[in-house]
Assembly symmetry: C2
Homo-oligomer: 337 residues x 2
DNA sequence: TTGAAAGCGCTAACAC
DNA sequence: GTGTTAGCGCTTTCAA
């Protein structure tokens, strides 16, 4: 059984190929009667445009690429990425785009895959995650490849379109809440400081302390990667210095920290109150349930897609930035006044 | 800056387009001296083949599609899918393929996306997950679209290529281990029986009981979906019937069940021993650590890719089946003799 | 072993 | 509004 082509539709409907093409791509340019007839034929014989041909002729593939660098350790344990992917995927479906996923497991792979993803002309645009220094971004800019970053990029943020939440303010609110509840020694479990999330949430924490006139104590801070094990480890480092509260910058790290607190025989929130960040599934499975800053992860993903498609349709524009706010979700882990 | 094409390479290297194409696609068909010169030029000017053109001419896109149906509730909380995706992605990278991800969030989307994914000729082949009845499989078979199923498909397993673990045996071993430790009332927390995983692991559980001559007690079994919350809920249903052990068919469900046991004020493994299935991250974060059946999820993903690519390269063959075995990983949750 | 030439199925000027 | 025509960049016969 041969492929059904535009040609076939044209022949059966008694029009030219061009007309069929128009019916598909700009229906308003075709006389209604003709359009209807063509649409009828398309349905009847089950015609589907060949994407390769269309892509070759129009240099648009209706394919977006999602890039997640190898450095992301938490990819397979933190529900953050699955949620993000869901948001992105859903938005792609809604906009009639398809999604191509690029994961790397080593630096060499990263180089190769970037090469192919870009120069092969396969994807119309890229969504890039992870807010670390990314050596490929300058190249993308130079080659004028449309892309949107999820999370403020580490460098050149002014020249790069991105979507993010207000991490500084989120962390500020989290810390502030603990202080308002009367906690005196609020510790901080942070992430890598070569990631903007890590830097920003740290800044928010510091800001809240400063505002209350509380002296910053480096012994009450610990910086690790973003996994649950890192949260546990960080908490163990903090415990000897007797914090009465902790702000952990992801729910996953908070969950690890809570385990460390339990293992040390301390009570939550009695001895140590804790607030996380994300409000993804780990927050609802801890004991007690985790107070956390909710960030709209799926929305972030779908906004990125919308922004990218917009960029694609309206050539060369100033970079766009969308910053969403976060929301404090109070549960049991932070205690009350 | 214009795109660099085959033409450019040919001109600069002083050969024909066909020769350059050969250098790329079947290097052995070109005289070494010429080949070297062409390769040199390719590197120098940084030529990358245009995938759309190549795909149009050869009707091979070097793109594989991964389909995850909307019914999968646990997609964003269970690390199973992230691990699978990692395995698949890595194998794709290694084989020089790219990966396209199709998630659905509703039935209508599913229909539309299947349409496009298939008839548009975008992907060379498909990897399909979820072992539920899938109304699209017959269509795929009929249209001779190459695909590999991950997990034994619910229907027509004989006609469909798939990779899976031996779920019956895995569940048997898990249950058997609990019985061997002297547990008398071994409960079962199962999944949907419209999924082959659900059916098979249930069968393994029953088989282990039968072998020991233990009467099957429906009150000691509970069937839910695959999430942590379902595990919790299922355990609550079982508790009144005083099981002294439980086999939960995923780690995630086991984690939920453990929480239910703790909440009921019972000890693990003292009052109730528990064994899970997967050996993914939840298993290492429970208290006590979870005894579980390890299944090689990433391997499953990469084997599926290998099988699919093989199918692509060697037209029409009998369906292939690869069944991997699982391994009991003993930790604290099952107790000892 | 290499080159010439004919498409792959579609879009997009351009003419009518 | 609609048809004609010329590619998009590559692979793949077919001859040489």
């Amino acid at each position: 059984m041969k492929r059904i082509t535009l040609e076939d539709v044209a022949r059966i409907a008694g029009v030219s190929r061009a007309t069929v093409s128009r019916v598909i791509n700009s229906p308003s340019a075709v006389k209604p009667a003709v359009r209807e007839r063509v649409e009828q034929v398309i349905l009847e014989i089950g015609y589907q445009p060949n994407l390769a041909a269309r892509s070759l002729a129009s240099s648009r593939s209706q394919l977006l690429g999602l890039i997640i660098p190898s450095v992301v350790q938490s990819l397979f344990t933190d529900p953050y990425f699955p949620s993000l992917i869901q948001g992105i995927s859903q938005a792609c479906n809604e906009h009639g785009y398809m999604l191509s996923l690029f994961l790397f497991h080593s630096m060499e792979e990263e180089e190769k895959v970037y090469q192919r993803a870009l120069n092969s002309g396969l994807v119309d645009g890229l969504i890039i995650t992870a807010n670390l220094v990314n050596p490929y971004l300058p190249r993308l800019i130079e080659q004028k490849i449309p892309f949107v970053h999820i999370g403020r990029p580490f460098d050149d943020a002014e020249q790069i379109s991105f979507v993010d939440v207000d991490n500084v303010n989120g962390a500020y609110l989290a810390t502030h809440h603990l202080l308002r509840l009367g906690r005196k020694r609020v510790g901080f479990i942070g992430g890598r400081l070569d990631a903007t999330v890590g830097v920003d949430r740290y800044a928010g924490y510091c800001q809240a302390l400063r505002e209350r006139g509380i002296a910053f104590d480096p012994l009450l801070t610990a910086f690790r990667d973003f996994t649950r094990a890192d949260g546990y480890d960080a908490m163990c480092k903090l415990l000897p210095y007797r914090p009465d509260a902790v702000f952990a910058i992801t729910d996953m790290m908070a969950a690890g920290a809570m385990q460390a607190i339990h293992d040390a025989g301390l009570a939550i929130p009695g001895d140590i109150a804790i607030v996380g960040f994300d409000d993804l599934s780990p927050a609802s499975t801890t004991t007690p349930p985790l107070t956390t800053m909710r960030q709209p992860v799926r929305l972030l993903g779908s906004l990125a897609v919308g922004m990218l498609i917009d960029l694609l349709n309206t050539s060369l524009q100033p970079p766009r930035h969308t910053i969403l706010s976060t929301e404090l979700v109070i549960r049991g882990s932070c205690g009350t006044l």
